[in-house]
Symmetry: C2
Subunit: 367 residues, 2 copies
DNA sequence: CTGTTAGCGCTTTCAT
DNA sequence: ATGAAAGCGCTAACAG
């Protein structure tokens, strides 16, 4: 018996099994199956399954033998087969606008790291910010029997997501997008308050003409940030000036263009508040190119606090989002959701302003 | 017949099907199956399958009816079931050291964008650069019947990967790691040459004491970059000085520490060459903190050319890697591999040096 | 052109 | 405690 496993155990297996199914398996792909182990151990396939899942008490002696054989054959359960009978596979989907944006990639990392510990895998999908792609992806994901989907900064509106989730039977968690009046679990940052704070910081340091570089306004967060900016102006008796608002797309290049536009104004701003760090980086770059000093001639504020911001020149004052935390919380919500079957409460995180050198601590005279 | 579909078609279905299996489906989850469509259309399940996969000619009238019913029931094939019979699912795995590193996230994006067009999904796994995790992940992936795995900058050595791929029966593609003398498809950048070039640029601009911030030396690329640096020194008759070599870990923080170390030397370098941009960012940050002017007092060179490098202050001279291209080529290799079943040839890309402002174009006097 | 049948590998009653 | 058997939803011969 022992010999059978040593060395070319495979040949023995081949000589021993003669049913066509087994023959095929042995020749084509040597992946071990429950059936092989069962046949080998002289027990039923059900018993093997029980042992390997220690689902019920099994004769210890048999269990030992089964486990040994499974190891020898380096058996790995076929998760697809298992998924078929269970009607689901231990996998989540992550749908993200742009994995190459450090903000999102950090969220993904957090999610991945958290769910991995519970044995879950993740499918990753990039939408490039295209709403039509989101639905497509969800359908694709559902066909694969995933258990839940993380919608990161989705373009689709929450109600639609809810409908789809009911129709297709998956758990959605919305990440980085405010969800109200809809029964959907979500985690997001209070952007309005954060941007009031950021704007007021600028106002406190003496600015009254503050340019605003928005992200795509079909994204709820962008609208909230804009709202915060507008509210702060209002609270401080500063009239809004639409020409100071520029809609970008969250990429470095659009920040560059925004700065170019804002500085071309007759009456240009003395400070620029950006909806994310990437665009702020673009702004800084334009200013450097033009030899405009930051913060002496113009102040710049970003949002996110991605890793590089502290290393820019000058180090960027920015709204620090709890990025990793957001991903981690989302993952935990999902896991709880799966386990208990009930909707975890939403989580609204706060974002601090991190004051660095791209804004002056005190500004007496502007321009 | 028509009426049956209108409005509460579901109730009709329920009233009509009484076999337990169908009863269960209808009540629990209203996912349509081939069987339901078949029963509904009054044809066999095989016919439905044929229609939906247009695998063989089917009576157009029947086809029409089947398709219509499928649409009404918003039928989506169960990919898991399909996977079970086919023995594989249209999915690849991506194994990456750190998805939060912009270099890697861009590669992932490229892969994802490319394979998506062929209907493939991707599982994403982060290893945090831990070799033991790689094997674990591969086994996990294999259980899920994926067709291929992209190993990005793997820590495991190629031979091991090859063995595993044979043992488990998946296609591996190595990305961003030199593979020689092993029958494995790979795409990588000629780092040695690139770093000879980078080092020589520094030498040409007058430097002879050049600090080198290496990445983890258990990564082949790091060793190659170091090798390029060393070769360039040798070619130019500069004796190597081990104290000028610092081993980091590719993160911003280690660049900071490296600079701290190098500048603390009795005879500090006049230029610092880094194995990636992130570490160069850390270096720049340290230099800013200490008020050391770049490039006047010290030159800095990075590697990768991630998006932010052009926006740093000063804009970073760096070895520009064809990042997106590398991911795209890898994806195409995989697709071809799957289709033809044979090993596509390796692809060795070249990296240009992009000279920006962190190195002086001409340096007459150093220090 | 269409239906019947036999699985894919695994879990899970239901008997024994 | 163990085995037999019935599927999970789909594909792919094999017959008509």
């Amino acid at each position: 018996m022992a010999k059978r496993f040593s060395g070319e155990w495979w040949e023995n297996v081949y000589q021993e099994f003669h049913e066509p199914a087994l023959r095929r398996e042995t020749l084509a792909k040597k992946r071990a199956t429950l059936r092989m182990i069962a046949e080998y151990a002289g027990v039923s396939i059900a018993t093997v399954s029980r042992v390997l899942n220690n689902s019920r008490r099994v004769n210890p002696e048999i269990a030992r033998r089964v486990i040994e054989i499974a190891n020898r054959l380096s058996y790995r359960p076929n998760e697809v087969a298992r998924g078929l009978v269970k009607g689901k596979i231990k996998t989540f989907g992550i749908v993200v606008p742009d994995i190459d944006n450090p903000f999102f990639s950090k969220i993904c990392k957090a999610i991945q790291n958290t769910v991995r510990k519970e044995g879950y895998s993740v499918f990753l999908y990039n939408t490039d910010g295209k709403p039509e792609r989101e639905k497509e992806i969800i359908e694709n994901l559902v066909q694969r029997l995933i258990e839940g989907i993380f919608m990161i900064a989705p373009r689709m509106n929450p109600k639609e997501i809810l409908e789809l989730s009911k129709e297709y039977g998956f758990y959605p968690i919305i990440v980085d997008s405010r969800v109200e009046n809809v029964m959907l679990s979500a985690v997001w940052v209070d952007n309005v308050t954060a941007f009031i704070r950021a704007t007021e910081h600028l106002i406190e340091t003496g600015h009254r003409r503050i340019g605003f570089v928005a992200g795509s306004l079909n994204v709820a967060n962008s609208r909230d940030r804009l709202k915060g900016y507008l509210l702060a102006l209002e609270n401080n008796g500063i009239e809004k000036d639409d020409s100071l608002i520029y809609e970008g797309d969250f990429m470095i290049s659009s920040g560059y263009k925004a700065a170019e536009y804002l500085l071309s104004l007759e009456n240009p701003p003395t400070a620029i508040l950006c909806s994310n760090d990437l665009m702020a980086i673009g702004v800084l770059r334009y200013l450097h190119d033009k030899g405009i000093k930051v913060p002496e001639q113009i102040s710049v504020v970003g949002c996110d606090d991605i890793d590089v911001t502290a290393s820019l020149y000058p180090p960027l004052t920015t709204v620090k989002q709890p990025i990793y935390e957001m991903g981690e919380i989302a993952a935990k919500m999902m896991l709880k959701y799966i386990k208990t079957g009930k909707l975890p409460p939403n989580s609204i995180l706060h974002a601090d302003l991190v004051i660095r050198d791209s804004t002056a601590p005190k500004l007496s005279e502007v321009r």
